[in-house]
């Protein structure tokens, strides 16, 4: 039994701290996906909160033969989609807001590095479905089969999305060069 599955069993037997261990193991990785996917910290934190709470509540449904990370990611992917859909036309595109610049220094920990901002912005310009596929494939480094289970989309459709994401990124670079 994997340590993840063992911890799940402990939680179901009443040991809540075992869930804290699961959170510790996956929080940062999930945070990375959420941030890259949603483009800002607030939404990402909402997604993380919702994901782990839902995972906790439905822990009884988890089966040992599934990879825990894949199971968790299915929840995460769906939570990110819900939050993005609810977001509508609010200003959540990841650009440093002028208001933040003009006021006192940021109270929250800030993103580090201009490279990260740039990459985040480039990702935000991708269609969300393409972005999701790109992130799962090349950032989370999942197999197409795992991705299919997490997104509910067929493997060939996912391959197409990944390819289109790469094409768009490539085209973006061409535009930067030529401006």
């Amino acid at each position: 039994m994997s340590s993840d599955a063992a911890d799940v069993q402990r939680v179901l037997n009443g040991d809540v701290d075992a869930f804290a261990r699961l959170v510790d193991r996956y929080y940062e990785r999930c945070a990375r996906f959420a941030v890259r996917m949603l483009g800002n910290r607030d939404d990402a934190e909402d997604a993380l909160q919702a994901t782990f709470l839902r995972a906790y509540r439905s822990l009884g449904k988890y089966q040992e033969r599934d990879k825990f990370s894949a199971w968790l990611y299915r929840i995460l992917v769906n939570q990110c989609r819900s939050i993005a859909a609810r977001r509508n036309q609010r200003d959540r595109v990841f650009v440093r807001e002028e208001a933040v610049l003009l006021n006192a220094p940021d109270r929250r920990p800030t993103w580090t590095g201009e490279d990260e901002e740039f990459v985040q912005r480039v990702l935000a310009e991708l269609d969300p479905l393409l972005r999701e596929a790109f992130l799962l494939k090349y950032v989370e480094e999942m197999s197409y089969e795992e991705m299919s289970a997490q997104t509910g989309v067929g493997v060939s459709a996912l391959k197409m999305r990944v390819k289109r994401a790469c094409d768009r990124l490539r085209a973006r670079w061409e535009r930067i060069k030529d401006e």
């Binding site: 939680v11 179901l12 009443g14 809540v16 804290a20 959170v23 929080y27 940062e28 945070a31 990375r32 890259r36 910290r41 990402a44 934190e45 993380l48 909160q49 782990f52 709470l53 906790y56 509540r57 009884g60 449904k61 089966q63 989609r81 993005a84 859909a85 977001r87 509508n88 036309q89 609010r90 200003d91 595109v93 650009v95 929250r108 920990p109 800030t110 993103w111 580090t112 490279d115 990260e116 990459v119 912005r121 480039v122 990702l123 935000a124 310009e125 269609d127 969300p128 479905l129 790109f134 992130l135 090349y138 950032v139 480094e141 289970a149 509910g152 790469c166 990124l169 490539r170 670079w173």
Partner: protein, 200 residues
């Protein structure tokens, strides 16, 4: 997996590797999560029988759920694709607007500015700066005779310019008669000139 990555365009590889970097995590958020967990009732095991019934063979959804999911995905795509900013403009629009504001209006007529350096031992002197892309060959200066005074006139837009003299093609020298630019980090100080706008 990494073989596939390597077959990617190098720029896309770079984007992926940057995206793979960890993000800063707010410890307060994590604490809030754990507090919320503790406030929840303990999750219950599914009964064995129920689990057997629910075990998926394939991802099969009832027709209505599929339609809803599809509708949700489409809406998701459209909203995301528009990427509207706070004030309703698209990212590209915003970029152009900000570009315009960074190029604030200056007096249109450039002024001919004289640069002078006394360097009797120099074989050649040129001027470099932000007005000629720091190209050491772009603006040679002329020696005015035996006293070793080198001169050039350059048309400059009114405003702030950073510059330096270059002796014999390699030695950078700040203008002794001008304010120094803040340390440029390249080991050679440069000079600053503020050119006045045309008199009204």
């Amino acid at each position: 997996m990494s073989d596939e990555l390597q077959s990617l365009d190098p720029y896309v590889q770079w984007i992926a590797s940057e995206a793979r970097r960890p993000v800063a995590v707010d410890p307060a958020a994590r604490r809030r999560l754990l507090e919320a967990i503790h406030a929840e009732p303990l999750p219950r095991r599914e009964s064995r029988a129920l689990r057997w019934v629910l075990r998926p063979r394939a991802i099969v959804l009832p027709p209505l759920a599929t339609a809803a999911l599809a509708a949700g995905l489409v809406a998701f795509g459209v909203l995301g694709g528009m990427a509207i900013n706070r004030d309703g403009r698209r990212p590209t629009d915003q970029r152009h607007a900000e570009d315009a504001s960074s190029r604030l209006p200056v007096s249109l007529m450039p002024r001919a500015v004289k640069f002078e350096l006394v360097a009797p031992k120099a074989a050649r002197v040129s001027l470099v700066g932000d007005f000629n892309g720091w190209d050491t060959a772009a603006t040679p200066m002329t020696s005015q005779g035996a006293d070793g005074t080198w001169t050039v006139f350059v048309p400059l837009q009114p405003g702030l310019h950073t510059y330096s003299f270059v002796i014999d093609g390699t030695h950078f020298l700040a203008d002794p008669s001008a304010p120094v630019a803040p340390d440029d980090g390249y080991g050679h100080q440069s000079s600053v000139v503020v050119v006045r706008g045309s008199a009204s």
